[in-house]
């Protein structure tokens, strides 16, 4: 700053030197003109009277002045007076020779001579130089004063308070409610305002930090809560990628699928293998969830222990980036209840045998499973049961029916099927027969077994019989209905033939 101040000062001094020189020159010119005007009258008189002595007096008088180097007074061609030596200075400040016509004192239109004055250029230059130096010194003093004043003001009014503010700010601890102090005497100016603004910012930052802390605490609490829900849920929660690899799972799923806890496990587990899914149902389910972008669900039975089955109802929900979020619920109990309900629905409550629905259901699968062997459908209709029912009562009838059921079960293999269609009508299905002869043999055993007397309760023995119609097939394409009709026809034939006998359907 001082350097620039000095530079400006030098430039101003140079400019002022030139200007002062010029001004001095003009001033000198005016001065000389005045001088000449002063002596003009006397010079005119001298010229008019051709008085060399007077002319010389005038010329010497003029020469006494520092600014005058040479004076010449002429009358026509005659030189009346010539004094002094002209300067040989050729500098810029040189003034032209000043000439003034001298007129007759008695006739102003008549020129009688000329007054010529050579200015003293060196004197002008000297004066101008001295004046310039004086101005330069004044300027220098002023400059030094101004620069020092500005430096003082900048240091005390600006730099120091700003430095203090900066130091305060630098050592400020954020978040403990501290503020910077307003520099003394600057409460009302920009520096005070700056300090105020900084404090406002600090306050706002403190508030923000407090809010941030609260938010983080809430977030942590919320995360803990969700973590707890995730970990203690009585349901399986997991994520799986589109290749079927498990990514995350909760402890419940880990326990059910015999997985290690999620943390600390770097092995990858294929969900399909864990679920014992051999038929790629899981893949289908995942493809559907990902392509439809909607939840899909299916049940999977997982082999559990030696004989048990764990049923899991799995819901897959597509997430972004090809991930799927899954929920697995243990539905083993429900499955068991369903199965037993289904079993109940296919049993005859009185005898414990299959009912009509049960046998129809199983007959179809038995037919489908024929592999080069034969199958015999026997329709067993009791003879004389109506009479027992009417004379001995329903209880006796029921007892008879139960006894028949036991007899039928006793003559067939475990793999064969026995059912009560309703009333006194029974069905026996013999599976995996080598030949129809086996059926004939079994039918004979049934007829003879049911011909024996029966304890109907109350020490009463009753006797009934059975007519058996047999339909044999080794073709899988035979319809159950058709088989049943053929057996029915054969049974009626046996009845017509005199009861307690069997007949083969043609």
């Amino acid at each position: 700053m001082l350097f620039f101040g000095g530079l400006v000062g030098v430039l101003v001094a140079l400019a002022s030197t030139v200007m002062v020189g010029r001004e001095e020159r003009e001033r000198m010119q005016r001065h000389l003109a005045e001088l000449m005007a002063t002596v003009e009258r006397t010079a005119s008189v001298a010229a008019f009277a051709r008085d060399e002595q007077l002319a010389n007096e005038v010329a010497r008088g003029l020469l006494l002045n520092d600014a005058v180097a040479r004076v010449v007074i002429t009358e026509g061609d005659h030189v009346l007076a010539s004094v002094g030596e002209a300067d040989n200075d050729t500098g810029v400040l040189r003034l032209p020779v000043l000439a003034r016509p001298l007129t007759s004192p008695f006739a102003s239109d008549q020129q009688v001579g000329e007054l010529k004055v050579w200015p003293a250029s060196s004197k002008i230059a000297h004066d101008a130089g001295a004046y310039s130096s004086f101005i330069a010194i004044i300027l220098l003093i002023e400059l030094v004063f101004v620069v020092l004043s500005v430096a003082w003001v900048v240091l005390n009014v600006f730099t120091r308070p700003v430095k203090k503010l900066s130091d305060d700010l630098h050592h400020l601890e954020i978040g403990v409610g501290k503020h910077v102090s307003v520099p003394a005497g600057h409460a009302g100016d920009e520096i005070g305002r700056l300090a105020g603004d900084i404090n406002t910012l600090i306050t706002r930052m403190d508030d923000l930090l407090a809010t941030e802390r609260d938010t983080r605490a809430q977030l942590e609490a919320s995360e803990r809560k969700f973590r707890l829900i995730f970990e203690s849920a009585e349901t399986g929660i997991f994520t799986v990628d589109n290749a079927g690899r498990l990514h995350d799972w909760n402890p419940w799923l880990a326990a059910k699928l015999r997985l290690p806890a999620r943390e600390g496990s770097d092995r990858s587990y294929a969900l399909g293998a864990l679920l014992g899914d051999a038929s790629s149902r899981l893949d289908t389910l995942m493809v559907r969830a990902l392509s439809d972008q909607r939840p899909t669900s299916a049940d999977f039975g997982v082999q559990y222990g030696e004989s048990g089955v764990l049923w899991l109802h799995v819901v897959l929900n597509p997430l972004p980036d090809g991930l799927l979020q899954g929920i697995a619920n243990d539905v083993t109990e429900r499955k068991r209840a369903e199965a037993s309900a289904l079993a109940m629905a296919e049993r005859d409550p009185l005898t414990g045998l299959l009912n009509r629905r049960g046998i129809e259901h199983r007959l179809s699968s038995a037919l489908e499973n024929l592999h080069g062997s034969g199958l015999a459908l026997m329709l067993v209709d009791l003879d004389g049961f109506k009479q027992v029912n009417d004379t001995q009562g329903h209880e006796a009838g029921d007892r008879v029916l139960s006894w028949v059921a036991r007899q039928l079960e006793a003559v067939v293999r475990r793999t064969d099927l026995v059912a009560r269609l309703g009333g006194d009508e029974f069905v026996v299905v013999l599976c995996a027969l080598e030949s129809p002869d086996t059926a004939r043999f079994i039918a004979a055993k049934i007829v003879s077994a049911l011909a024996r007397p029966i304890d109907a309760g109350g020490n009463q023995l009753v006797q009934i019989g059975a007519s058996v119609g047999i339909a044999y097939t080794d073709s899988r394409t035979d319809a159950p209905d058709a088989l049943m009709r053929r057996a029915d026809d054969a049974m009626y034939e046996a009845k017509r033939a005199g009861k307690s006998q069997y007949r083969f359907a043609s």
Partner: protein, 144 residues
């Protein structure tokens, strides 16, 4: 100088003098010289140069002795160069300082002037036109 010419000039001057002496004698001043000075007439400028010291010889070459008639001085200079006496005095004061150019000799009365002019060849003076006589020659008439 041809005689005829001289005669004509003198006759003319006499006629003029006769004419002005009747009704305008107090209003005309005559610049006079010695009859044998060799000067017949002067222009107003020549007269002013002589009386104000610029010329120190008569046109004929004779050194001039200039006389002022005290009682007529103011009228004379007013008529000659249209200046008041204080200005004329200031002029002479400047020249007197050098001592080289002398102002006219101051003569108290017109008769003394006439006598001096009639007596000395280089003398030049002025008097009331009415007082001019044969002793002197009029070279310039000034009305005021």
């Amino acid at each position: 100088m041809p005689l005829m010419h001289l005669f004509t000039r003198r006759t003319l001057l006499t006629l003029v003098l006769a004419f002005v002496s009747g009704w305008a004698r107090a209003e005309t001043l005559a610049v006079i010289v010695h009859p044998s000075s060799g000067v017949d007439s002067l222009s107003r400028e020549e007269a002013s140069h002589l009386f104000l010291g610029r010329i120190k010889h008569l046109p004929s070459g004779t050194p001039a002795v200039v006389l002022d008639t005290k009682s007529l001085r103011a009228d004379f200079y007013r008529a000659l160069v249209n200046r008041e006496m204080n200005e004329i005095s200031a002029y002479w004061a400047r020249l007197k300082f050098s001592g080289r150019t002398q102002p006219p000799e101051q003569i108290d009365d017109a008769e003394s002037v006439l006598r001096r002019v009639a007596a000395e060849r280089g003398t030049i003076g002025y008097v009331d036109a009415a007082r001019v006589d044969k002793r002197v020659r009029v070279v310039l008439l000034l009305e005021y």
